[in-house]
């Protein structure tokens, strides 16, 4: 008899094929937005995903893409749920994900997310992903996508994106 329900580990592995539509070098596992995968007692596959930002426009696409991968692999009974808690944090981003960001010229998140000092004007050092200098300055807290801020390197003078730490 053919086992109709593939192993959970195999399904986790498929998720590597689902890209973030806004930063395609990252897959959904690098971002840490797939929170759980499980078979229900009725043999329905239940996947929980969590948004990076409340208004992230990529969520719908990611949900559709996950559905497509499942269907390509013969899974028709599945449910993709969006969960808000625990809230997504850049601390969940994989080491591999951080490295990939760095390689495409996006400075990965630095420090720990739960830092309240920022509220009253504390500034973090962000290293330039191109020349490695720490002499950088922020141009804007908000960049090309909700998850990024815009920086400039004072050493090599290149502007670059920084993946915000939340």
């Amino acid at each position: 008899m053919v086992n109709p329900s593939p192993d959970i580990d195999i399904i986790w592995d498929w998720m590597k094929q689902v890209e973030d539509p806004e930063i395609p070098v990252l897959n959904v596992l690098d971002l840490g937005i797939v929170r759980s995968i499980a078979w229900s007692p009725e043999q329905v596959l239940e996947i929980s995903i969590t948004p990076t930002y409340s208004g992230c426009p990529a969520m719908k696409t990611i949900e559709t893409d996950i559905g497509e991968i499942l269907e390509e692999n013969g899974i028709t009974r599945y449910q993709i749920k969006t969960v808000l808690a625990p809230a997504w944090t850049t601390d969940w981003m994989s080491e591999e994900g951080r490295l990939k960001l760095h390689q495409v010229g996006i400075a990965p998140p630095v420090g720990v997310s739960a830092d309240k000092g920022l509220l009253m004007g504390k500034i973090r050092t962000v290293r330039c992903p191109i020349c490695g200098s720490e002499d950088t300055s922020m141009i804007s807290q908000f960049g090309s996508t909700a998850c990024k801020a815009l920086y400039r390197c004072e050493n090599c003078l290149e502007p670059f994106d920084h993946f915000k730490c939340i």
Partner: protein
Amino acid sequence: MQKELFDYILRLADNSLIHGQRLAEWCGHGPVLEEDIALSNTALDFIGQATNLYKYAAELEGQDRDEDQIAFLRDADAYFNLILLEQPNGDYAFTMARQFLFTMWYYLVLEQLTNSKDSFLSGFAQKSIKEVKYHVIHSRDWILRMGDGTEESHQRIQSAFDSIWEYTPEMFEMDDLEKQMSEQGIGVDLLALRPTWRSQVEAVLQEATLTTPADAWGHSGGKRGRHSEHLGFILADMQYLQRAYPGAKW
């Protein structure tokens, strides 16, 4: 109980939606490109938060309405947002003064809501507070920059605070619903937040060489559906498509 919680969620949701909608009006009109992008991003955060809240409200109601129907098919007197948030954007100083006063308050509210006995609300707050932290940082920067900037920018941001101040008391108003929710450990004791809010706002205004206006008379009624004339125009703009073509989808 469900009805009260539903109404309470709508207050939070309507704040987010109306604020997001107002900020979105800056899209394509920002003073510089970076600010245009910043405000569009911020608007998106608020509209996303509103969507999450309306979804939960729809679930509580259990009448087969979805988040879009709740947002697009309600008239002004069934909207429960703060009157502050429906005020026209004015110049950039006015938008930033409103953004700063509201997000400083909202941050404190969300901080309390992370401990809400309602598990959805506590999860929602943990998520949203991270976004609002960035909104506070962004608007605070602008208050300092404009206040301690040129004579013109100083005068504009000061007059923005002077004219907007009368909309702030409503943020701390505790009516029966707020009291009930707070007593049940679901909502927030807003009155208790006021001294913290006031001193934090004052500290930033002082650093920006600005004068914090004195507390006096304040507008009231938004939480019970009594609004300024501006809300109707926002809704007319926002709801046009769903009113003209009910049920239209992308």
